[in-house]
């Protein structure tokens, strides 16, 4: 057993490391209630003026709405595309299956700056840059691998003999899917939807390339705002985003466990 002092040092270092990890997420909250015109510590007075300013900042409000809408579209399309693929890749076995799975999850391994640039170059030729469909399609490159993996894990842990039984009893494939497979994989569906939504909503590098200057998206607008302004407005947005993300984290954790969902 370790002596007492060593244990004390150990406990203290664990707490310090945890504080380091959470510091940036926590500190935006006090700063967001600063009454100052620029970020400084400690704030000279407290107020909610930057939250009020945020409501009247047209660019931020528009960007927030656009990001929500895009993330919603991306989530729906991601599920529609990933669901049949996940069923095919877990309920069939065929030659080249593993290679296909690697191909579908490969975009996660590539740097998003390379993906963003690669998609920009192709999309520029078809006028898809700065357009809604362009951004939605581009986001699919990163949301699909996550969703596919979560759905495949969900289907993989679900015994296929239930489906077999239904089939033997005369249910058509579509009936089996509707009445057996779909209800059983609801947790995986919820988790992959939440992940696809948050990944699309948070994506900044690919959006920076594809959304251009016309189509305002929240992470991109925040990035540009920070480049030219030093007031605590971004702290107010950040605090709200942290709270929103917390909600998503709870959904994913309840559905399948956070660790399973986000590992690369």
């Amino acid at each position: 057993m370790l002596p007492k002092i060593a244990r004390g040092v150990h406990a203290l270092s664990i707490i310090l490391i945890l504080m380091f990890l959470l510091a940036p997420v926590i500190l935006v909250f006090p700063i967001s209630f600063s009454a100052d015109a620029y970020v400084a510590w400690p704030p000279s007075a407290w107020s909610a003026r930057w939250y009020v300013a945020l409501l009247h900042n047209e660019e931020m409000v528009t960007a927030f709405r656009n990001s929500l809408l895009i993330a919603a579209c991306v989530t729906v399309i991601t599920l529609v595309v990933a669901m049949p693929a996940a069923v095919a890749l877990t309920r069939w076995s065929f030659r080249g299956q593993d290679a296909l799975i690697s191909l579908f999850t490969a975009p996660l391994l590539l740097p998003s700056i390379v993906l963003g640039l690669a998609i920009l170059v192709i999309f520029a030729g078809y006028g898809l840059v700065s357009s809604w469909p362009g951004v939605v399609i581009a986001h699919l490159v990163i949301t699909l691998p996550y969703a596919l993996r979560v759905l495949m894990t969900g289907l993989g842990t679900m015994p296929s003999f239930v489906e077999d039984a239904a089939g033997t009893l005369g249910a058509a494939p579509w009936q089996v899917f509707r009445q057996i497979t779909l209800p059983l994989m609801t947790p995986a569906l919820v988790a992959s939807a939440a992940l696809a939504f948050i990944v699309s909503f948070d994506e900044v590098v690919i959006s920076l390339f594809i959304a251009g200057t016309q189509l305002k998206l929240l992470p991109v607008s925040l990035y540009h705002y920070v480049e030219s302004w030093t007031d605590p407005l971004v702290a107010a947005v950040s605090a709200l985003l942290v709270l929103g993300t917390l909600g998503i984290v709870l959904i994913v954790e309840r559905a399948i466990g956070l660790g399973k969902a986000v590992s690369k």
Binding site: F20, V80, V114, L144, T168, A171, V176, L258
Partner: protein, 288 residues
């Protein structure tokens, strides 16, 4: 071969046609946003840009040769690699005790895991902004240091700021990898070693560390690869003074509009990735 109801029914109605239909959408999307763009980008690195910004006809090696002969890019490549390696090392040193503690925790383990991993789901812009609030002049950390009568060093718009911010951004990835590796660690092994008279340091060096090596290697690969390709955090905390491969790709693609150079640098990043992957494969073999 999995014999499922879907398959059994499908077999009656004519083989793999249902299978192909189910896979068709994802194949199309994958080609459209992944295979075609990346192949096209690799091909573009063999073109060159005219002075007007337009691209010259035909393939040539001039972009590559001008890149390779330019010392500026060599020093940038070197800086990217060593900063990436340093960030990986610091991330490992900070994440290891925390991950070990979490994996041993008996109370509130689920909460601890969520606390360690959920920062992953918060936008990199928000978390990096958090670091600007902490490290900036007249801001949190310098103010705290001054209240102890210490003179704070410059913490932002330099490499130190980038390393601090990147370390925190990458810690959840490292913790995840380490946790998956700690699964193999059996507490009874350590107890046995202790009973046989091994001190805590010996137990760690001879039992805990070797058994957690696979997780360490995986975490290091992941963090190095992400550190080398990160763009937002070096841009925001480096204040334009820390030029890395990823920030240069963005500048070439969006500011200078020299796409062939940006394409070359992208291929260069992928080569760094491949090299890291080879190293990882070799080291994994040694560890086993």
């Amino acid at each position: 071969m999995t014999v499922s109801a879907l398959e059994a029914n499908d077999a009656k109605s004519g083989g793999g046609s249902l299978l192909s239909t189910l896979l068709l959408p994802i194949v199309l999307v994958n080609i459209l946003v992944f295979v075609a763009p990346v192949a096209n980008l690799a091909a573009m690195s063999f073109r060159s840009a005219a002075a007007t910004g337009a691209m010259n006809e035909g393939f040539d090696l001039s972009t590559w040769s001008s890149l390779i002969s330019d010392a500026y890019y060599w020093s940038m490549l070197w800086r990217t690699v060593w900063i990436g390696a340093l960030i990986t090392l610091v991330t490992l040193v900070l994440s290891y005790p925390l991950a070990l503690f979490v994996s041993r925790a008996t109370r509130a383990k689920a909460l601890l895991i969520v606390l360690c991993i959920s920062p992953l789901l918060i936008s990199a812009v928000v978390r990096t902004y958090g670091w600007m609030v902490i490290l900036g002049d007249q801001r949190f950390l310098p103010a705290v240091l001054r209240s102890f009568n210490l003179t704070p060093p410059r913490l932002i718009n330099n490499q130190l700021g980038v390393i601090i911010g990147m370390t925190e951004i990458l810690m959840p990835y490292m913790i995840l990898s380490l946790l998956s590796g700690f699964g193999k660690l059996d507490a009874t092994l350590e107890q046995a070693a202790e009973t046989l008279g091994a001190g805590p340091f010996t137990v760690f060096r001879r039992i805990v560390l070797p058994l957690s090596m696979p997780g360490i290697l995986l975490g290091c690969l992941l963090c190095f690869v992400l550190a080398v390709s990160s763009f937002i955090t070096p841009k925001m905390l480096g204040g334009g003074r820390v030029a890395l491969l990823a920030t240069e790709i963005y500048d070439q693609a969006i500011v200078t509009l020299n796409w062939p150079v940006a394409a070359c640098l992208s291929v260069l990043i992928l080569i760094v990735f491949g090299t890291a992957l080879l190293f990882y494969g070799q080291l994994s073999k040694i560890v086993e």
